[in-house]
């Protein structure tokens, strides 16, 4: 369970989050949407403790997260830009993260799933963007966490890998895991998301199911519904 209360964050003069409150419970896939610069990544990074909020409270499983680190054992995070230390090989990186997390990992399963065997001994700096993203995905799903936080998971993936990613997400969903996913790919949202969280100007503008979103905007197509939502008055 993740609870966010009245979260404020400024970067310099730029107020990114302005009193955001959010509560997500149980399992399910929550798509975090919003225009560029609406604070999606900042929200995610605040939950992870990478960004220190100016004001507000975040609880993961009832425990406040401020200046804590142990709670991150419950979280798996997929960063938006998959940059890794260049002079490590893929298998060294995977081993290192397993060693640092000190949690059981299904390493081989994920290596096979994303077809990473041929790259295991290659240096990370020599990999293509798509392959790096697959390494990134393997790193994230290697651990059996109750909460997965994915920032633009579809970046640079080929169709075959995209299908595998969706299958993996569905599998974890069926195991009752909680997902927070940011994406700009509406097809992805339509196929997978249970609920949509729409951010605008640092606040939650809409939170609800896709059906509710369609009804409210009068648009059948999700892409159009999302585009239409920000032009309406908020009531969520």
């Amino acid at each position: 369970m993740i609870e966010v209360e009245n979260l404020h964050k400024k970067f310099g003069k730029n107020a990114v989050l302005t009193g955001l409150s959010l509560k997500v419970e149980g399992g399910g896939i929550y798509a975090v949407l919003g225009p560029n610069g609406s604070g999606k990544t900042t929200l995610i990074k605040s939950i992870l403790g990478m960004v220190v909020p100016d004001q507000g409270l975040i609880r993961v499983n009832g425990q406040p997260t401020h200046r804590k680190w142990k709670y991150r054992e419950e979280l798996s995070y997929l960063p938006q830009i998959a940059n890794f230390p260049g002079n490590l090989s893929v298998s060294e990186l995977l081993d290192m993260i397993v060693d640092l997390r000190r949690q059981p990992a299904r390493q081989q399963e994920l290596i096979a799933e994303f077809g990473l065997e041929p790259f295991l001994n290659k240096k990370l700096s020599n990999l293509s963007g798509g392959t790096r993203q697959k390494v990134n995905l393997a790193l994230t799903f290697m651990f059996d966490s109750p909460v997965y936080i994915l920032d633009e998971p579809t970046n640079g993936l080929d169709p075959a890998s995209l299908i595998r990613l969706k299958e993996r997400i569905r599998l974890e969903q069926s195991r009752g895991k909680l997902f927070l996913v940011t994406t700009h790919i509406m097809q992805f949202v339509e196929e997978l998301a249970d609920e949509v969280i729409y951010l605008l100007e640092g606040k939650i503008y809409f939170k609800g199911t896709l059906e509710a979103l369609r009804q409210r905007t009068g648009q059948n197509d999700v892409e159009h519904a999302i585009a239409a939502i920000s032009t309406q008055e908020p009531n969520a």
Binding site: F11, K45, L48, G49, M50, V51, V52, R67, W69, K70, Y71, R72, E73, L75, Y77, P79, I81, N83, F84, P85, N87, L88, M96, I97, D99, L100, R101
Partner: protein
Amino acid sequence: MLKILKYSFYDLMRSRWSYVYFLFYLALGFVLLFLNNDLSKAVITLMNIIVVLVPLIGTIFGIMYYYNSREFTELLLALPVRRSSIFLGQYFGVAGSLSLSLLLGLGIPFAAYGLFRSGAVWDFGLLLVTGAFLTLIFTALSFNIALANENRIKGFGYAVLLWLLLAVIYDGLFLLSLILLEEYPLDNFSLAATLLNPVDLSRTLILLKLDISALMGYTGAVFKEFFGTHMGLLVSLGALVLWTCLPIWRLAVRCRKQDF
């Protein structure tokens, strides 16, 4: 923290730069011994180089490592690891591998030359210890600067400026103030000014250990009286330790407030 230290250390041990640094000191040691043909003289020349160069390398290496490993740091920040462990682990990885390069690079040629059979072994030992201290101090200072500046060019500029200030400009200002204030008794002032700069402190410590403080005239006598005693040695070592601990402590505190 130890795990992060281990990985940072391995990472550096594989990078070309640690070896360049090591080979540089190795070559320097051999060349100095070859040219001077005398251990004690080589130690003096070496001191002049170490006191200026070690801070420079520590600063530049520290700042480069921090900026280059930013992605790695971000990866670590999302893991269940304490923040201060991440930064302190990386810091000790860099400072440790630099100190090791210095120790081995200089130790090997001097040991091969017969250091342990000569009387200069303690002087040389002190030289290496101060070298290690300077590495720790300046790497910590550069990590602090890097943490405060997201812009690499700015961070790099500030770091080089800091080195220039402590290793070069400080001495100039110090001398200038001695000349301007020559009518006043300056013993305590110059002692304090020396203690406040780790570069000067190291230099003075080594010079006094080498027993050539007579070259420094009256001030030298005052220094000898102060540094030569047990008390003086303790105070100066304490100042070096303080210079090491303060930036490390600040690093540990400051990193908790940083956004990534």
